[in-house]
Amino acid sequence: MEEKITQVKLKNGMKVLLKEAHTAPIISSWLWYRVGSRDEPTGKTGISHWTEHMLFKGTKKFPAKILDKAISRDGGRWNAATSRDATHYYETMPADKFDLALRLEADRMKNSAFDAKDVASERTVIISEREGSENEPLFQLTEAVQQTAFRVHPYHHEVIGDKADLLAITRDDLYEHYRRYYVPNNAVLSVAGDFKTRAMLARIRELFEPIPKGPNPPRLTRPEPEQKGEMRFTVEGSGETVFIQAAYRCPNAVHPDFFPLQIFDSILGGTSGLSIKTSRLYRALVDKNYAIEVSGWAEPTIDPYLYRITLIKHPKRAVEEVIAAMDAEIKKLQDLPPPEDELKRAVKQARAVFVYGSENITSQAFWMGYAEMFASCKWYLTYLDNLAKVTPQDVQRVARQYFQPSSRVIGVYQPKGSEA
């Protein structure tokens, strides 16, 4: 792929990735910290996401209201999110107003106030966020699948955290978490858009280099032991609709099998970002009225994670029938390598999704930094080439290796009072 990306490490260890794109008068910057819900011990679940909320509460230089207005006044878009492996903050701004984004991020990397009053009001906001999610059957099921699949590894809890911890975490817990992880040597800044690299880099140095380096924060790693046999369970709740989620254990993003698994996903569940009506699961399950909807989903992660198939059961079928139909489709890929055509198609689809992404400066900045969180920027640059190298035999092999019932978790959301 023709991508000119400048990569620089600042003196304090912060990594900077820059990509000029002069298609619109816009600049998008993403500041990534290597901290996420996987770094939270029991008792502190949800602390990374809460910390992210607190960074919107202001600093001495940019008090909350001013901070918010300053970005919005210039027509910028900004937000943040916390995932399992990382936390990011982004601003997309008109190019001539962009400096504010850098000043703001450099400032709140070290000067966020964490005022006790703000901590208190944000506690109820976050509990309310959790309660809103709990209204959704699919959230309840997904959370239960995750905590069943991971007993030891900290991927076991949802990013939002458990309510018990959201009630107990203190201001000092939050501030300590912030001080430990929000250091330049734990951060990556990715910027794309309408700028000149040399000037941009000089400005970034000027603003970020004075921030002192901290101790390298440790990452919490407790490898999940091997699963010994299939696990199944039921979540009961309101409604009349049955959801089924099957989760298979998959390797992390830098494992050589990751790319064969991406092709496997494309063939079985469809390419993410496109319609999936000719994927094998759609044809076998939705077209044949086993399911109302089906989707497959893999996520690039630092540690081995899950490939999930989520189904809405057709009212006329039994849960077991639906699972059997899904298994039959997976078995076809285990028995026979897919035809070359299907692989070519998966690669063309991925190429198209990349081209669409290149229309958008925000997404270009996103991908550079995101890939750094679980692999490296090179992972993103070589993504299409690596997909193209996958052979039908690779796909068959990963289908056999990772898609065995003995290492999966199946959760069923069962409305109360209805029959399976």
Binding site: G75, S238, I276
Partner: protein, 425 residues
């Protein structure tokens, strides 16, 4: 590459190409050679406004069935062609229109137009596909019944727009969707689908003139002599007193609320005053004054904001929030207090200035992708904004005064006469 498109100019008469095909379909096109893709989107007047009460959901059903089989292609072969090349095309509907949108790599654009034309002109509504879709729609309706924000919004529209087509849900009800027959589908299609009132926007790596030739070839020959004009819309009844309704959902953990009143249509002269006023009230930054009062200061909600929904007909001006059931009354009071302040004192000069700056500054962001520009071109046509609209936009925004906003707020919002709809435990 950078040099050629470096202009960074907003779309305007010099680069928006507008023409009508031989059958009257309007095309707006703009070239963008920065990426090798093309977006196409558009609409035609065949929305739920044409449905009878006992067949609610029919327009929705028809539009989602268009790609499920045509005279020349099966459902499977349509999607096989599209997905094989990473292209997409989809239809949906709202009260007034059936909308469509798709994109592809430029080499596959002819395929996209062929499929668009077939889906619009010769759908066959295969029985099996209809039943698959019906099961899907019925499940969505069951899920809607379990969704607190959907249920609050449904009741809000029903009360606010009583006696008006906007009071009806475009996805219908379980019994109406069950009653729709294949004959209903064919009849709806043959009466309401046609070139009259149809608008298409094409944006991407194709010269506009060339896009026009291709579209003429695909759709220029479409003639539907008896295409029915949209029915006249009644005026909604004014709200005489505050109406409060609660939909009980005992198994839920959080309540959703929607409260508000009628708003201007997109073509009303006070639209921009209402829009900027709404931005100050419940959009700007972390959701304006309402977000500040309900979320930031009181910690009562994860989300709280206001929205102005202005389209072809009367609009709604509404505030929504998700709150803990114990805090519902408190949140409603806080919102009412903000509305009273809004109609009493209006907005400050500083608030107006920063919101005007926000509107002007964010324009290029919304026009970044081909899809974004296509949407902007369709807006121009739908609301007669003029090809120079985006170039005049800053001037239009800056012209709005504090007095305009105050007058508009008072015209529409009466804090003691609101529809308040809640759903939850």
């Amino acid at each position: 590459m950078a040099k050629r498109q470096r202009g960074h100019s907003l779309p305007g008469p010099e680069d928006i190409f507008r023409t009508a095909l031989s059958n009257g379909i309007v095309l707006l096109a703009r070239a963008n050679f920065n990426s090798l893709s093309v977006s196409v989107s558009g609409y035609l007047p065949a929305g739920s406004i044409f449905e009878s009460d006992d067949k609610l959901g029919l327009a929705d059903f028809v539009s989602s069935c268009l790609m499920r089989g045509t005279r020349t292609r099966s459902f499977d072969s349509i999607y096989n062609e599209l997905e094989s090349v990473g292209a997409s095309l989809g239809f949906d509907s709202n009260v007034h229109n059936v909308n469509f949108g798709g994109r592809s790599l430029v080499e596959d654009f002819p395929l996209l137009l062929t499929l668009l034309s077939e889906a619009l002109r010769t759908p066959t509504f295969p029985k099996k596909e209809m039943e698959t879709l019906r099961a899907h729609m019925l499940t969505s309706l069951l899920l809607r019944e379990q969704n607190t924000s959907d249920m609050a919004a449904l009741a809000f529209d029903r009360i606010l727009f009583e006696g008006h087509p906007y009071s009806r849900p475009t996805d219908g009800y379980i019994q109406t969707v069950r009653s729709i027959t294949r004959e209903d589908m064919f009849e709806f299609h043959s009466r309401h689908f046609g070139p009259k009132g149809m608008v298409v926007a094409v944006v991407g790596a194709v010269e506009p003139q060339k896009a026009a030739e291709m579209l003429e070839k695909a759709l220029g020959g479409w003639q539907v002599p008896g295409q029915a004009p949209p029915p006249a819309m009644p005026n909604p009844k004014p709200i005489r007193t505050t109406v409060r309704r609660h939909h009980s959902m005992p198994d839920k953990f959080q309540s959703d609320l929607v409260m508000g009143t009628l708003g201007p249509s997109r073509k009303d002269p006070e639209y921009f005053a209402a829009s900027l006023g709404n931005s100050i009230l419940g959009q700007f930054g972390m959701m304006g004054r309402i977000g500040d009062a309900v979320r930031e200061k009181s910690g009562l909600a994860y989300y709280a904001s206001s929205s102005l929904n202005s389209g072809a007909g009367p609009g709604s001006w509404e505030v929504s929030a998700g709150v803990n059931p114990a805090n519902l009354d408190k949140a409603i009071e806080l919102i009412q207090k903000e509305l009273r302040r809004f109609v009493k004192n209006g907005v400050t000069a500083e608030e107006l200035a920063e919101n005007q700056a926000n509107y002007v500054g964010r324009l290029p962001l919304s026009l970044e992708s081909n899809g974004g520009v296509a949407g902007a071109l369709l807006n121009i046509e739908r609301f007669d904004l003029g090809l120079d609209y985006y170039q005049r936009y800053e001037e239009i925004v800056r012209k709005v005064t504090r007095a305009d906003i105050l007058e508009t707020a008072r015209k529409y919002i009466e804090p003691e006469r609101l529809v308040v709809s809640t759903a939850g435990p």
